[in-house]
Symmetry: C2
Subunit: 93 residues, 2 copies
DNA sequence: CTTCGACCAGATCACCCTTGTTCATTCTTG
DNA sequence: CAAGAATGAACAAGGGTGATCTGGTCGAAG
């Protein structure tokens, strides 16, 4: 599923055009991104929470050369599904 | 940051009321959830991708009794930030 | 058309995950 | 707006899983 499909679903849900839905989706995602960047955490009841996570540096391996390399600490964005969402995915195949 | 704040941001971005933005956010999130449930994966260019991940069964420990327990395989929803989003969080503190 | 993401290899260790209760926060309804 | 209801976060501890590193290419998506 890609962005276009999501836009269609949103358009259908909100009864608006795809163009409108496209901006809508973009606005929401941008809002979430902004929230994660500024507050470091975005909690949405009934859905889940996005959190800016720091990954500690560690020793990795270059798959090409099999040579051990030092991986610097990095920051990523994690998503923790709420119990409701977890319950939803559990039943699906 | 909670859902209300996100609603405010979206409302501001789309120039609509908070009530409208609330439904908007809900629709988008529900759409994403639906996509993950049906397709198992939702890729959004420039933001990231949600994926339904299966966690294999393993042996855990009951934190209270320290007793080893068998944990059944479960399904969760993972989020992989796109390079752009990663780049964004890298620069933020 | 151009860019963005997926893929895959192998190996390592950081981080997630379990339980269960309590509290705080948030959402909803009157 | 206020109060009640519901959901999530935190904590503890340890083992094992999976995320992730590189990087070039292909396919798809915008």
């Amino acid at each position: 599923m890609n962005k276009g499909d999501l836009v269609e679903v949103v358009a259908s849900s909100l009864n608006e055009t795809k163009a409108q839905a496209s901006r809508t989706v973009d606005a929401v995602l941008e809002g979430i991104a902004k929230g994660v960047l500024s507050d470091g955490k975005v909690t949405i009841t009934g859905f889940g929470s996005f959190e800016k996570k720091k990954r500690a540096a560690r020793t990795g391996v270059n798959p090409h050369t099999k040579e051990p390399i030092q991986i610097a600490a990095s920051t990523t964005v994690g998503f923790k599904p709420s119990q409701a969402l977890k319950n939803s995915v559990q039943g699906e195949s």
